[in-house]
Amino acid sequence: MIGGLGSALIGSHPPTVADDCLLRNAWVCPEYVRTRADELTAATVEHLRITVISVVLGAALALPLALLARRVRRLQVTILGLSTAIYTIPSLALFSLLLPFTGLSDKTVIIGLVLYSLTILVRAALTGLDGVPEEVRDAGRGMGYSANGLLWRVELPLALPVLIGGLRVATVSTVALVTVGTIVGSGGLGDLIATGLQSNFKAQVLTASVLCVVIALVLDLLLVLTQRVFMPWRRGKAAA
């Protein structure tokens, strides 16, 4: 828009190609990306920060919860029921319900997103651990593993493909959901989409949207690569 103003002042000269896309309010505009690189980078970093904190906290809480649910079967029904309920709550409503506690801050968004990733990851952990064949557990016990040793050396490694599968779903969903955080002013790239909507700035909306999808795909790819590095025996098979 600044470029558009500049070329309008020049008047008699035809606008340069680079300025033209801002003037025309085009969807695709390299000039926008060039002139607003700082703003785009800051929003991308903020988006990544909220995503990573939310998924890591979610994973850190999910594993102990899943282990607890496995030990106390009655808790499992409660935990799975609660996680379905949380997953059902639309993100805009969840952030709004947290408002009295955390106010207009990134805490509201992060706590909401931790809850969502938690529900996916607890399920994945329980599915993965339940999928370990009983004979394998028996063999482990026969080799003299304690309950703890069995968990860390046998059960968790075998559950890892399902766990990473859950981590992929949680990460990709979280990247998309961060945008809704713009309602409390912490939406990462979602803030750019919101201001772009208000000022009818198409290049900003499209660029920020594409960046969201790219972040999701890149993080997903990183998790697939992690799985290949840590589980060479699973190469070529997709995670469940």
Binding site: L92, L99, L177, T179, I183, I193, L197, V205, S209
Partner: protein, 231 residues
């Protein structure tokens, strides 16, 4: 804890139950738009996925569409449609299109998986009994896939209700508009009150769909029958 009293007062205020901004009208908008989107998505996705599952083709597409769909932020898609030229733009069509787009993946994936992963032995047996392709589809594959298809429809329903809420950030009415109006007026009680309305609707939809799923599943009778046959 004063905010709880504020929220209760908001719910008790008769003005919040009247007119185009009132809870009943917003509720009807939300349910109407969601039901229309879910209906359209079912009409588009179920026949396509049933056919693909029946001929065992296009599995990568049917399953991949769910993974790709998850990466697209609903908010971004809504804004892109609202800024798009006619017939989109600031219209119900834009919101409805976004809702349908996000409802299709779970239905498509679950229906495809449900139909294509029916036990081949059951299909073989049906063919041996002289059933034609359409008969196998109607009498073997669809009944066995119903539970998974309904899973997909339930997931889509939850997704549609959530997306319809986010639509208020862009233009739409529905219960989400109570939340965005509350943010606009810096009225926390209205924000939380609207969120509670959305919560009640979302949980009712999930619960209602779970009940429906149990009622329409023909597999219980079939399962009892096959157990008798196996014995």
């Amino acid at each position: 804890m004063g905010w709880i009293a504020d929220v209760l007062a908001w719910f008790q205020d008769p003005r919040n139950w009247q007119g185009p901004d009132g809870i009943p009208h917003r509720f009807l908008e939300h349910v109407g738009l969601s039901a229309a989107a879910l209906g359209i998505a079912c009409a588009l996705a179920i026949p396509l996925a049933v056919w693909l599952g029946h001929i065992h083709r296009g599995g990568a597409l049917a399953v991949g569409v769910s993974n790709i769909g998850r990466a697209f932020p609903t908010f971004a898609v809504l804004v892109l449609l609202v800024l798009a030229p006619d017939p989109f733009g600031l219209s119900t069509l834009s919101i409805l299109t976004a809702l349908v787009l996000f409802a299709i993946p779970p239905i498509l994936t679950n229906t495809y998986v449900g139909v294509s992963e029916v036990d081949p032995a059951a299909v073989d047996a049906a063919r041996g009994m002289g059933m034609s392709g359409p008969q196998i589809l109607a009498k073997v594959e669809l009944p066995l896939a119903t539970s998974l298809i309904m899973d997909g429809v339930r997931l889509a329903a939850v997704q549609v209700v959530a997306t319809a809420t986010i639509a208020a950030l862009v233009a739409g009415g529905g219960l989400g508009a109570i939340i965005t109006d509350g943010f606009g007026r810096q009225n926390q009680a209205e924000v939380v009150g609207g969120a509670i309305c959305v919560l009640v609707l979302a949980l009712s939809v999930e619960g209602g769909m779970a009940l429906l799923q149990r009622r329409v599943d023909p597999q219980r009778a079939v399962r009892a029958g096959s157990r008798a046959a196996a014995a």
